[in-house]
Amino acid sequence: MKRTVLIPLAVAMIASVAAPLRAERLKVVTTYPYIASIVEQIAKDTVRVDALARGDYDPHTIVPKPSFIAKLRKAHLLIINGAQLEIGWLPPLLKQANNASVNPGTRGFLDLSGHVTLIDVPKSVSRAQGDVHPDGNPHYYIDPHVIPRLARAICTKLSEVDSRNAAMYKKNYDEFAARWKAKRASWDAKLRRLKAAKVIQYHKNMDYLLIRYGLVRMGTVEPLPGIPPTSKHIAELEKIFESNTIRFILQDVYNADDSSRHLSKKFGVKMVKVPHDVGAVREAEGIFSLFDEMVRRLTQ
């Protein structure tokens, strides 16, 4: 009885030890789908990339699953958004994955937030202000101008972990950057027409885009980050609607939209459901179509 269990176990353990010895595709795990999409642009088929979170779920509160542990266990490279966006779900999974090569601080770990400048870094941090991010607003990737920077960081990291293919990664990055630049020119042209438009968002997850194109942020539907709308707060917002011409209410796809819909109906202001990640809506299939769809929804 004992032997029948132990022999397959020993075989499996030896196999796992031996597995890294034979050449295999680099396994990249990303926390969010948008990062996976950028990795695909840089690495094409040379790596296997898996995103843990679903793009249509709240990125702050991804529900952890043991299958994530299985993916992290086999990863050669883990790329995260950082700025504490993953703090509520990733650390125990990483701990349980027993994979020393993707722990923070190791070569197989990349925190993209270290490559950008974050806004709204709070001067003092208190949870009386809701679900605050001490490092600043973590939704920095919702800005077409920052994506090449992230792609470059990913390219550099891939070249470091897998130096044999460095030339190919660089070539792909150059192609990607050129395509992105062309695409971005058309997004810029469309979005610049929204300059000075006043908007209300559900959560401050579009700030980087709004600031980039000079839209005016007039408030959020949630009273504090992570706290659902209250009637008192909605009454305050209604005053803003009464004394300003609000162009849009920006609603994400994962929070309840009752309050946004109520405001939209009451003041005749359009509610736009903006995709925040690849997979948030059907049309956002990759990093290009994510921004295509974002721009289309904002400008149609």
């Binding site: 499996a12 796992s16 679903r54 249509d56 779920y57 709240d58 509160t61 952890p64 699953k65 043991p66 299958s67 542990i69 299985a70 266990r73 086999k74 703090i87 509520g88 779900w89 990733l90 701990k95 349980q96 027993n98 020393a100 722990n103 601080g105 770990f109 925190d111 937030s113 270290g114 950008v116 400048t117 709204d120 001067k123 003092s124 202000q129 809701g130 679900d131 101008h145 920077r149 470059r152 550099t156 460095a166 660089k170 150059d174 950057a177 992105w180 630049k181 006043k198 980087y208 600031i211 942020r217 007039m218 408030g219 959020t220 009273p223 659902p228 305050e236 803003i240 929070n255 309840a256």
Partner: protein, 499 residues
């Protein structure tokens, strides 16, 4: 031990408090927490347009790979002075760097959190009657004659209860280990709930844990009470482990490099659990009977856990086994007390299954069930009327299970029902089956409101049909109705959710 804990606490606070002050600085402007509703002064974003340039050697040369921005210079050459904020901050931090103590340790303070758990309990039995109740054959009594003082769960009296507070500390130790400690504080005592260090850099999917920790036996055992879906532990865990299996020892786990989750673990533990194990021998008051201490370590635990997803459904299964020697002494060493004791070899086997269906980002439905079986083989000691210890051959076969269905049906609300059962209760003394009640159930329902991840209010109702009182040499059923209003509050470090 107590003194050590006090010293530890004093040390923690002496490190933490000055460091917190040091971070804010006495001259840091105290800004009131202001609600920012309107923000029409657009902050500047850096211009990343120079990134469009193809990758030049400067980028490939010196990225340390630690997530630090590779080229701060990139921010400099832009049209509209967009990088104003970043250099300003840098200058400020440099200034702080020159004024602060060169020996400051504040960055090394561990993650600290503090949990408070309190409840208001109501029961349709007086405390005096409740204290005499028991679950025959499972909790507190072998065959009815040993009535010594009760421990949890019967310790929860009616009215306000301060259940516990828990101080947790976590930090990476060095490149090889991390350390976690949970110090449980009650109004009367300080306990090390857990304190262990763990490897972080073993290859091939292995991990070692050493210290005092909650065993990974079964599904719920490893969870701290504040992560439970109900106010109380499942009956079968109360019966077999006195709540949980929390031991000093070593644990090794291995995660298989497969496309689905497969984890195998083994633990060597001291085996001090008072409900099923125990290493300390005993003798009666005049030494006519003596049972030696068992060999240490006394308890071995092993388990295998696996999980896979099918669309939005996650399936999680596990099988666990524990084998150890039992030395359980209920007053057999005291003169004039109707004491009993057990010396046996004990097995506890467990199987668990969790099915969790995620409807969307905020809502799920989870079914969780565990079945535990206990087999004890050894000797039972009981005193007769003349205070003389008599020995019987003991064989215990007992089992229990729970099944719970918990739904999160809105962002802040959850509700659940649970069915507990102590099922088989087969105890033979010298081959003769004891007359004990079988199938002891408890029914629970709960609803909880989570204002944020840090504050939870829970209302729970139990119909506890597992309670009995001794009567005429047998047992009479005494079911209880219980209502509990529980509050659980956390401050400090952000505890992430496990599955």
């Amino acid at each position: 031990m107590k003194r050590f804990t006090v010293i530890l606490l004093v040390f923690i606070f002496s490190v933490a408090i000055p460091s917190l002050r040091g971070q804010d600085g006495p001259d840091a402007p105290k800004e009131p927490a202001q609600k920012e509703l309107r923000d029409d002064s657009p902050a500047d974003l850096p211009n990343y347009d120079d990134d469009d340039a193809t990758l030049e050697p400067r980028n490939e040369s010196k990225d340390p790979g630690n997530g630090s921005p590779d080229e701060p210079e990139n921010y400099d050459d832009e049209e509209r002075g967009a990088a104003r904020t970043a250099p300003k901050r840098d200058a400020q931090s440099m200034k702080e760097g020159t004024t602060s103590s060169p020996f400051s340790q504040s960055q090394f303070v561990p993650d600290i959190s503090f949990v408070l758990d309190a409840s208001y309990n109501h029961r349709d039995r007086d405390n005096e009657i409740y204290k005499t109740q028991l679950r025959p054959g499972f909790i507190q009594s072998m065959s009815g004659e040993a009535e010594h003082e009760h421990v949890a769960p019967n310790a929860v009296m009616r009215g306000f209860n301060f259940n516990y507070a828990e101080l947790t500390l976590y930090s990476v130790v060095d490149p090889y280990f991390d350390l976690f400690a949970a110090i449980e504080l009650t109004t009367a005592k300080v306990l090390i709930e857990e304190a262990y260090f763990c490897t972080t850099s073993l290859p091939f999917g292995f991990q070692l844990k050493t210290g005092k920790f909650l065993s990974s036996f079964g599904r719920i055992n490893e969870q701290h009470a504040h992560n439970w879906d109900f106010y109380d532990a499942p009956l079968v865990y109360e019966a077999f482990f006195g709540g949980d299996l929390n031991e000093v020892g070593v644990r090794a786990t291995w995660v298989a490099p497969l496309d689905f989750y497969l984890m195998i673990g083994a633990e060597a533990l001291q085996g001090a659990n008072a409900a099923s194990f125990g290493a300390t021998g005993f003798a009666d008051h005049n030494e006519t009977m003596r049972v030696r201490d068992s060999d240490d370590p006394n308890l071995g635990v092993g388990y295998i856990k696996t999980s896979f997803d099918n669309g939005d459904l996650t399936v999680y299964m596990g099988a666990s086994g524990a084998y150890g020697r039992s030395r359980i002494n209920h007053g057999v060493d005291q003169a004039g007390v109707a004491g009993t004791a057990i010396a046996a070899h004990s097995h506890v086997l467990g199987a668990d299954l969790t099915l969790k269906y995620q409807f969307d980002s905020k809502r799920y439905l989870a079914l969780q069930t565990e079945y535990l079986y206990r087999f004890m083989d050894g000797a039972y000691y009981a005193k007769n009327e003349t205070d003389i210890v008599e020995e019987y051959a003991l064989v215990k076969r007992q089992s229990g299970l729970y099944a719970q269905l918990v739904g999160k049906f809105a962002m802040r609300w959850r509700a659940g029902i649970r069915y507990d059962l102590l099922a088989v209760n087969d105890i033979k003394l010298d081959g003769i089956k004891e007359s004990l009640p079988e199938s002891l159930p408890r029914y629970s329902a709960m609803v909880d409101f989570n204002a944020t991840e840090f504050s939870r209010f829970r209302l729970q109702y139990n119909y506890d049909h597992s309670m009995y009182v001794p009567r005429d040499g047998s047992f009479a059923s005494r079911p209880n109705h219980e209502v509990v209003l529980q509050v659980n509050i956390t401050i400090g470090a952000h505890g992430a959710h496990a599955f």
